[in-house]
Symmetry: C3
Subunit: 204 residues, 3 copies
Amino acid sequence: MIEALAWIGLVAFAISGATAAAQARLDIVGFALVAVVTGFGGGTLRDLVLGIRPVNWVEHPAGLWLCAATGIICFIFERGLQHRRLNQLLPWADALGLAAFTVLGTEIALRTGTGPFIAILMGVATATIGGLARDVLCNQVPMVLRKEIYALAAALGAATYVATLAVGLPQPAAATMGFVAALTLRAAAIALRLSLPTARSSRR
Amino acid sequence: MIEALAWIGLVAFAISGATAAAQARLDIVGFALVAVVTGFGGGTLRDLVLGIRPVNWVEHPAGLWLCAATGIICFIFERGLQHRRLNQLLPWADALGLAAFTVLGTEIALRTGTGPFIAILMGVATATIGGLARDVLCNQVPMVLRKEIYALAAALGAATYVATLAVGLPQPAAATMGFVAALTLRAAAIALRLSLPTARSSRR
Amino acid sequence: MIEALAWIGLVAFAISGATAAAQARLDIVGFALVAVVTGFGGGTLRDLVLGIRPVNWVEHPAGLWLCAATGIICFIFERGLQHRRLNQLLPWADALGLAAFTVLGTEIALRTGTGPFIAILMGVATATIGGLARDVLCNQVPMVLRKEIYALAAALGAATYVATLAVGLPQPAAATMGFVAALTLRAAAIALRLSLPTARSSRR
């Protein structure tokens, strides 16, 4: 089930990449590349850091082509990205992706034998680094550093997963609880427009 | 022959790095570093992703010093970078580098046993990621995402190389065809000022 | 001793990350993440490139949490970052970190059996890439490319270390000389406001 949600999340991440590409006025190749980077940036860094090689998508490139195709479709129907309906749906699909990627990333780190803290960090990285790379490529200060409860929702989900596993829950139950924790906090942040306070002063 | 062209391309990439460094008003160390990153960023990411370790230049650092020296020479003769003659030559040298790096990167990926699609992607990455990192460092939206037929020329060259190999051509002939395909499309784009359409609207 | 100075340097790097985060008006998660990236970006890239896996902090995450905690403390006491006393101290603590990270990074590269030039480059990378990533995340042209004698001080320290080792000095003496060389040049640059000339012209 988490796998299925990861595919939905992948498409949501690819669409968010295409949305950023539209704002930066990129061409069709730029749409495809930013969509791929948004979907796979987090997992790639995780695999590099943990020493998993080659990185996941070298042997299973299907998701890569899904992201690229999503980017290209978004370019072709670009005005559609402005449609109010899609803009309302996108954050919720993205939240599903965030929650699924968090649990998947944590699980993969645990399987390589890392400690719980690094596993949580890898869960957060898997869910957020793609969006961070998307914003760097489009020459923006990354949203994950700046706005809304995003990395924090991933951290809560990953910590819940690790803690419930440690307490002895079977893996599928623990994964579900981690997924629900991340999704609930992120959904609450979207619905209630919660955000963390930012730095008050600007200097120099 | 491809190897020889790769050296020409390396110098062209280093000069394009120095040109970007001049626009961002960097110091001499910045010129050298951006020149190195432009020349080696693509190959480094390719090696990391494929799990080739240590990455290529750790054991063969000659090209690294060539890039750094090129950056330093460009700093010293900086006004020369504006000379009309050089500005006319640069895109053509860069096109040679693009085509050579594409074939080399594809070849290296194939040698590690990846499938054809990943090999093509690695060829494109080898040829384009250096320029992308150059633009990120100099705080620009990367040119490869935004303008002209650049990544597409690399993709055509890599695909031609993989396809002609698959059809049974000997490796040198296939490499030459890939090289010529990438170079021809890129040269046509420069000469005819072709570019892909970009996103029409800008929002938020 | 170098180890102890590396911890001081790590905190100084984390504070410089938090200072950049304050200027970019990030939230508390952004402060923590930029502090971690500033402290560990250089060592992470070094380990990836040399093929050390998993990268150092996966097995020894204590420094990671120190950086994150420093970032969070800086967020809470954010106005404190403006205090004149701290602003005067910071560059000197940062210089200690620069010198310690340079020697450590060079040493780690030598231990993996790289040649002297790559070892020097890895020393420079360990000391400077974290600050470079900090500036890219905060959407600035990286300071290391643009201002002051920073990478050059690291290069001098790493070269001194490698050269004194080659001449036959025992490791602790060589490390101390490398450390002192980097620190002296960087301190002189701070105290005397030395900087390298930047590119004179701006074009396009």
